[in-house]
Amino acid sequence: MMDDPKKYWLDEPRNVSKIYWTVCALCAALFVADAFYHKHAHFEVEGWFGFYGIYGFVACVGLVLVAKLLRIILIRPEDYYDD
């Protein structure tokens, strides 16, 4: 390992927050974008305002929460199979 005295932009917690708020702003902009074009939809739900954004958010939060619950059942020590 080498010494690494150089400070990186991301080392500053303030800058991490900047990224976070940029993502939030992008999401807001994309959500509003639904008002400005004709959505070509196969199913009715697709046409709902902001459907894809809400679906993506709910899907990911659900995915992580379920995976977290599953972990309680599935987790084993790293050497579980070693003997």
């Binding site: 390992m1 080498m2 690494d4 150089k6 990186y8 991301l10 080392d11 976070y20 993502v23 939030c24 992008l26 999401c27 994309l30 959500f31 974008a33 639904d34 074009y37 004709h38 959505k39 070509h40 939809a41 196969h42 199913f43 697709e46 902001g50 459907f51 894809y52 954004g53 809400i54 679906y55 993506g56 958010f57 899907a59 990911c60 939060v61 995915l63 992580v64 929460l65 379920v66 995976a67 977290k68 599953l70 972990r71 059942i73 599935l74 987790i75 084993r76 020590p77 790293e78 579980y80 199979y81 070693d82």
Partner: protein
């Protein structure tokens, strides 16, 4: 003999020459092989056929059409990129295995009959296992054995299916088979094992992360995509595949979220991407089958790229556990950048390769009115961004700084990653050349306002979900652990059952033995009691005693006689 040489044979026969070459000649020749194979593939016109007669059977050793060509092209490209990535490796075994393995997969996609397919099918198993064993560790050895057993098992089931099918129909042609009868069903199961169908999948997550740094890159390209090709050839439009595929897209991603070994995370997401291709085969329309072929093409590239970047991390740091990594962007900036390109491609960001291929399958699912499957695919698309697109680069290169400072990856690795990343972007920006080589004419426009905006909405809100869960501390941390999956059945449950049965039998035997022994002891004790050294019947009596006895006997005799 056929006068058309299978490009696969160029790689297989060429790999046998490699041990006789040394140093730069060996590695140079290794790079040359995929180029020669590709050259030969370009010379093959659709419709060309080569056949040989053997034991009275006519084997179509080479059959050229659009479907086989698109897989052959990408297999050659993958072989070349993997060879560049492996340039620094000084291990003849791995070079031979890698090239022979790629050649076997290429031979298999040109196979016009089931027997030829079987031969190459088994050859992919026998050659690829050495990429795992080349790690030369006990863990890898055992994992490789399990891998080999399952792969060869798939081949045995395939052969059984071929025999039954040939017996019933008199044909060994590898065309559309459908699911009628025992033969095609067995063949379907054999393909399903190699394609990592749910519950038949776990060899993939078990073995791939145990292979060598460069071996995993080879492995990720061929076996499973060969199975996708075989399913697309034999079972297009089989409805069951829609459901199997949808399950494959969804359930591995839960594991991917909690898995600590980042190459294993990629193996789970590989499984998830195969699901999209399988759904495309199940729907069976021109659009969906094109989608499957296109997605296999772009998937091989971005998955190889992701495995390359994680391989570079493993190569430099010696670990690939999310719990021990972090902050590597400082010392491996190029690898970080290439990894992000792979991540954006697998997540299907507009202008990256996944976008122009996956959208074909999802559009086909929606167009066919499969609303539930469409919903699952959308969920899986958001999920894959979540765990492959964000988790992989985040935990390896960002997250908390682990303090690990290493050198950037070797030049040949960076070159391979750079070329692969270039292809991922090129296909995403300009998909026309890929669309031109698909099995059916393409009538699909990926870049519509609706597609682009809805996809960006889906992805950015998934990113937001990750960010929110991270900041709130809800996101499960990377822990040193293993998670139980279906391999538990044959690594723990079955051995335990066998152990218990053996134990049960042993204790039964013990009971029987102890009963028999106790009985025997009792008999012996009785015998001993009377005949032992101090037994009544074995006592030594003095002469006088004997005379007394005789006297008593005679007395008794007299008494009974006269009475």
């Amino acid at each position: 003999m056929t006068d058309i040489l299978s490009p696969g044979l160029i790689l297989i026969l060429g790999s046998l020459v490699l041990p006789f070459l040394k140093g730069i000649w060996q590695r140079g020749f290794m790079l040359l092989l995929p180029v020669l194979g590709f050259w030969q593939t370009l010379s093959l016109a659709p419709g060309a056929q080569g056949a040989i007669e053997i034991f009275g059977l006519t084997l179509i050793t080479i059959r050229v059409d659009a479907l086989s060509l698109v897989f052959a092209y990408i297999f050659h490209i993958a072989a070349l990129l993997s060879a560049i990535y492996a340039w620094h490796v000084r291990d003849t075994l791995q070079h031979v295995a890698g090239m022979a393995y790629a050649g076997a997969a290429i031979g298999a996609v040109f196979a016009g009959d089931l027997i030829t397919l079987f031969v190459y099918w088994e050859l992919t198993a026998l050659t690829s296992v050495f990429l795992i064993w080349a790690r030369r560790e006990e863990r890898a050895y055992r994992s490789g054995l399990r891998y080999l057993l399952i792969q060869v098992g798939s081949g045995v089931i395939l052969l059984a299916g071929i025999v039954v099918h040939q017996h019933q129909t008199g044909s060994i042609a590898f065309e559309k088979l459908g699911l009628d009868g025992l033969g095609p069903t067995l063949i379907f199961i054999a393909f399903g094992i190699k394609c990592a169908f749910p519950l038949l999948h776990n060899w993939l997550q078990d073995a791939y992360p145990e292979a060598t740094v460069t071996g995993t890159v080879f492995l990720s390209a061929f076996t499973t995509k060969l199975a996708v090709y075989a399913l697309a050839r034999g079972y297009p439009g089989t409805e069951m595949l829609i459901w199997i595929g949808a399950t494959m897209t969804a359930f591995p991603i839960f594991y991917a979220v909690i898995e600590n070994d980042l190459r294993r995370v990629l193996a789970y997401s590989l499984n998830n991407q195969l699901g999209f291709m399988v759904v495309g085969i199940g729907i069976g329309t021109e659009l969906s089958l094109n989608g499957t072929a296109a997605h296999a093409f772009s998937h091989i590239l971005y998955k190889a790229l992701l495995f390359m970047s994680m391989g570079a991390v493993l190569f430099r740091t010696g670990t690939i556990k999310g719990s021990e990594l972090g902050g590597l962007y400082k010392s491996m900036p190029w690898t970080t950048g290439f990894c992000i390109v792979g991540a954006a491609s697998i997540s299907a960001f507009p202008l990256f390769s996944g976008f122009i291929s996956k959208s074909m399958i999802i559009t086909a699912a929606a167009g066919g009115g499969h609303w539930f499957v469409w919903g699952v695919l959308l969920f899986a698309s958001a999920g894959v961004f979540h765990h492959s697109g964000i988790k992989i680069p985040y935990f390896a290169f960002y997250a908390h700084d682990s303090g690990i400072r290493v050198k950037e990856a070797p030049f040949n690795m960076l070159l391979a990653m750079g070329l692969t990343a270039f292809l991922c972007i090129a296909i995403g920006v300009y998909p026309a050349p890929l669309y031109a080589i698909l099995p059916f004419p393409v009538d699909f426009v990926p870049y519509t306002v609706t597609h682009v905006i809805t996809q960006l909405q889906l992805l950015m809100f998934s990113a937001l979900a990750f960010a929110v869960l991270m900041r709130s501390g809800i996101y499960p941390p990377e822990l040193r652990s293993v998670n139980l999956d279906s391999d538990w059945i044959y690594r723990r449950f079955l051995p335990k059952v066998v152990g218990l049965t053996r134990g049960g039998l042993a204790s039964l035997q013990q009971v029987a033995e102890s009963v028999a022994e106790r009985g025997l002891r009792r008999i012996l004790a009785v015998v001993f009691h009377y005949h032992g050294p101090s037994g009544l019947l074995a006592r030594t009596w003095p002469i006088g005693g004997a005379a007394l006895c005789v006297l008593a006997m005679l007395g008794g005799f007299l008494l009974t006689y006269f009475l």
